[in-house]
Amino acid sequence: MDKKHWQSFGELNNSEAFQQSAKNEFNEELPFEADDKGFMETKTPRRDFLKYLGFSTAAAAVAASCEVPVKKAIPFANRPEDIVPGVANYYATTYVQDGDAVSVVAKVRDGRPIKIEGNEASPITGGGTSARVQASVLDLYDGARLRFPTIDGKEVTLEAIDKSLAEALPSAGSVVLLTSTINSPSSLEVINQFKTKYPTLQHVTYDAVSYSGILLANEATYGKKAIPSYRFDNAKVIVSLGADFLGTWISPIEFAKQYAVGKKLSEKKLDMSKHIQFESVASLTGSNADDRYLHRPSETGAIASALLAALGGAGKDTITDKDLKAAIAKTAKELSEHKGEALVVSGSNDKHVQVIVNAINEAIGAGGKTIDWSSTNNARKGVDGDFAALVESMNAKSVGALLIVGANPAYSWFDAEKFKAGIKNVKVSVSFNSKADETTQLCKYVIPDHHYLESWGDAEPKSGHFSFLQPTINPLFKTRQWQDSLLKWSGATADYVSFLKTYWGAKVGGENGWNKVLQLGVMGGETATSKVLTDLNIVPATVALSSAAYNAGSLSAAVDATKAGQTGIELQLYQKIAIGAGQGAANPWLMEMPDPITRATWDNYLIVSPAMAKTLLGIDLDNNGQADSYEVNPPKHVVEIKANGKSIKLPALIIPGTHADTVGVAVGYGRDAKVGRATVDEHKNTVGANAFPFASLSNGTVSFNVASVTLTDTKDKYPVALTQTHNIYNTDQGNRTEVMKELTLAELKKDPTVVLDDREEEAKPFGGLANFRKDATIYGSYDKPGAKWGMSIDLNACNGCGACVVACTAENNVAVVGKPEVLRFHDMQWLRIDRYYSGDANNPKVVFQPLMCQHCDNAPCENVCPVAATNHSSEGLNQMTYNRCIGTRYCANNCPYKVRRFNWADYSGADSFPHNQDELNDTVHLMNDDLTRMVLNPDVTVRSRGVIEKCSFCVQRLQEGKLKAKKESRPLETGGEGKKWDLKVACQQSCPTEAIVFGNVNDKKSAVTAHRSDNANRLFYSLEQLHVLPNVSYLAKVRNREEEQGAEKKEHA
């Protein structure tokens, strides 16, 4: 039978019109509101379906919070094989920004990445992350990202740009590729391929904050222009000359992890590393040091030289300051007593200083022990002199084409004007950038780059350690990876993905091997530190640590070059943990993250010492009235800073731990508004001021120390949004040691149970600690069978870096409220890191205390709620029922830990009142646009206006973990000897030092139980005497010092 059934004449005759309509049978567009900027002008392509689906699901999930009806939900017509609605997929990939490469796992829900977790398989980070890594997912959904390629600012297609450049590039003359540090082996290979097409290609590496000094010094003394692997974990004595290695120096996640190894105390063997910090402006690392000595930035070289001399080396001692002299002698003594297990690092970018530091390290036998040359650190490769030469040749009109990847010298080069003048002479300027930053704005051709979560790639953060990138979402905009462009322009037919696969093919063992490394995310590594690796039966090769041949030839010149300290006021430029060299300035999560040192958000400021505050600002912190008034009033004095013929005005914050004659200003602010709306404040003014122009070039390296600075109090005031205003826990009425317990190693050795005895004493009226829970109340106590959640935080391991704060924000949809709201103390973070000072007010001891809801078993918040909106679960959780909450705030008043956060306004758009966001600031609007809301976690309710919220112990993760164990018909496992982790809460997962341990405390073998019982002598609960019975315990902070903390305590008692 060959009978044809037809439905229309068109079908019968097979007309052209019919063919067309048959082809477009399903031609309606998906319901999607087009954005205005050309980004959604094209019709919805089929392959973008997931993107749209993800978007609408996000919108639906967001809308499905308190009381708002679901607006749109599009079900799958054909469900993709690997997507189960409501179940997250995890993809191993790598966070790459400039030279930083951190192995991560991206959590993808319904087609959109929503959370970055550390990759526990990585031997470098072991699952640790930093605040910036955690916040990077928000950059993916940044509305300021470039959405299409442009030539001279006009939208063009990629084809058009390729065509235009195919003509322009070969005729341009000399081609220069300017990049930030690239440590991706395949990308370097791509550049090599490009070089075959353009043999004159010059590749210049530019780092905003470079490590030229170290690179050049190592070239001089070891013949290797590289940064070795530092092994802080092998060091018993760590001396840092201004290197903020826990915060911003080279590879802080890795170093924090290693550092914590030496700082964690075992009760069986009371032994920990000793950390001595010499610095000028209070840093995170200095705040964690056992001993901190303050000096002028200009004295760094002299100190290094004197230290070398004190160790019997060829240094000279020009230090005259008595305290500093004693400090150096003491440090030298410590170092020489621990030869082979000591390490000296320096944050100086001066080659001479680094040469002397190398000599010191040789003298103490660090090579092969705490400094490992078997694997180099590839985080930064740029040498400032190379870039300075490039700027010269640009100005000499000898650069024909400039291709820029990741570098932003128009902002971060100290002499940006010269660069800007130079780029005008460049005929062909191409920028591969995801944002129209200061440099990209100067370029003729702009091809927006993918975000790393949209990219393929690889990275080699340390030689022999590889980490891989795979896309977790289809590109949101018309962007292309820069490697693809270069490949195309070198005439290759393969795109970067196939290039990458071919590059790795044989090395990883073909397709299967490739899939395996992609799944794991990492390859190579020296030690089997990771349980994930063990679980996967991967045994990494063990590589012995090695030293390098030392050549002392350059030492005498270096020692001669050191000068005695200057006089007058000096300025030190530094990087903030969250903002870096400006990379975080457009990210609202990072801008609102309180700086660990200053506890300030959203702003750039001048750091002054308490001594200088007295003379410059007329504020005496020893005067209670003046201190109070400084603390409780956010407007701070605005100071004009003049140096090198440049001047900026910034508000001044008084930060103890800063040298009396030194002030500090963070770089990274004063960004162009096009980088993101977070860079302008509510008055449309640029946030902060760019401090890079204060830097200078000397001996081929950029120096961030500025001498001869003039400061004038302008008498103006400018409000700074601080999230913590009071910094000491002792008062005229007594030292609040129930809040925080810290002591020295000497004290602990003398009396190991001193902390425990204190607690016993406090609980004595109720029959001691053993009976405290039961007898300090008139109510009966009940058994709590099943799971009971608890957390234990080691204050010795916590360095206050703030990764957990951002992780918590990302996981729990914590609202970003903007500076005007933070100023009013309306910040919403569920987890904060309290910072307290003790001891000498000019150079205090600093302790960090991560504080979130303590989930008290006898919670004061629970019994005061009139509607029972907050109550206790059978698993020990203090839970909030948002849709029952009527917002009396009684619970917040009655919370002794002040962890409850109230929704003062409709920060999240979850409220059903029309126009009620009208009066909110730009930041809230930014966080509420449709694109940014794609980052929201659909597992966590978005809270509406008028309700209280707080840490839930990531209840969504607990539920997921419990279900996982239940499905496998086995008891829940939360770490511990030989046990797996069914769940980790967000803060715990993000912590590079594993300071936070969480789990089931009813399980006698779980990690948290062990953490508590193994450290019973240091264990304490904050405000234990209130009998609120918190479920978060802390291990007292111990400093490796000889003096007794108690001496200070008595003084204030």
Partner: protein, 479 residues
Amino acid sequence: MSVKYESQLREPLVYGDKTYHQVTEDIIRPIEAKPSRLWYIGFFVSVSMLMFGVYSVYREVTYGIGQWNLNKTIGWGWDITNFVWWVGIGHAGTLISAILLLFRQGWRTGVNRAAEAMTIFAVMCAGQFPIFHMGRVWMAFFVLPYPNTRGPLWVNFNSPLLWDVFAISTYFTVSLLFWYSGLIPDFATVRDRAKTKLRKHLYGIASFGWTGSTKHWQRHESLSLVLAGLSTPLVLSVHTIVSFDFATSVVPGWHTTIFPPYFVAGAIFSGFAMTQTLLVVVRKVFGLTDYVTMGHIEAMNKVIVLTGSIVGIAYLTELFMGWYSQNKYEGYTFWYSRANLFSPYGWSYWGMMACNVLSPQIFWWRKMRRNLFVTFFMSVIVNVGMWFERFVIIVTSVYRDYLPSSWSVYYSPSIWEIGFYMGTFGLFFTCFFLFAKYFPVIAVAEIKYVLKITGEGQKERMGTMEGKLADEFAHEYAH
């Protein structure tokens, strides 16, 4: 020789030789006359303030509590300060009506009506704050234990805020009933004198068909006694329970066992002061100086100096305990956050001390007690002081509590917070102006009740008559 002896100190409660008709005339006349110009101005100002308050609340409900300057550390500020302040003011009326009725204090009759009205309005104002301080006021009905399909989900009976709900609503209901039952005979009087149909009709409804029969009077008296019996414990319980909002918490400065008596004394203190403020004006404006006499004023001033001294002792006790307990957290709150004049909120503590403890001592002098200007000035000062007291208790306790890391930035109210407070003044005075115009501001029936015994003219006549009778009696028994 006279059998009956009356103290020289006991003044007549009603001056002038009044007849029953004159009493009615004096008190009801303002209701029947056209309101004065002054009344219109006052009413207009009050309504304007009320409208501003309504707008302030509208903003707060629409945009959120963020319209106020409260923060993560200071969860309550002006809102609850004003709540407690108004509730305190709402104490005098019921105290005067109920407790003084039970103690047979005849002098209450001159002031009880206005004092009760003040109570009702003050409690109405007070009620606005706990309602509108909620983040989600549209869910306020959650605080009522009503049957529901959520389990049923009950309210949390452990919460002092819930006790507040019951305490204040009960107090309000009983006070309202008491006040109204007293008004019934007077409304009937207005009805009977009415010249227009509308007036007759409206006051007719309001007086519930009162005929003045003996049966009615008997029931009215019994009801008054029953309500007085019911209200008496309420006077003590309401502010006790309000004090529990603080006393049962863990916040240093709130967690204090002294609070219930201290709060009740403070409430009576402020309530009497507010009554003075109003009556000193009303008795002049409405020409009721014969009914609200200097004797009344003096009696109330005595109560003020007594209760003021009680709160003074309470303040000193708190300070003493702050030191004696050796609790560093309480010590800090009492000795630094409060008693240190140079701490950020030290001014409010010393403002409170000056207004509440020091200045009322002036009333130890009889001359001052009977000075109208001093009385009026002091009555305002006392209520300013009592506002400071609540502010001190609430804000200086929470703004620096346990964790120094969470100590707050300086809190001062936003315009909308002030607007809300102003609005309750508007509500209060709008109600009071309407009350003064349409309701008998003095209990006519009750004045008549005491007129024969304590009225100036009657007393004189009675004295002579009794004296005569006694002489005759003595004479008869001499034989």
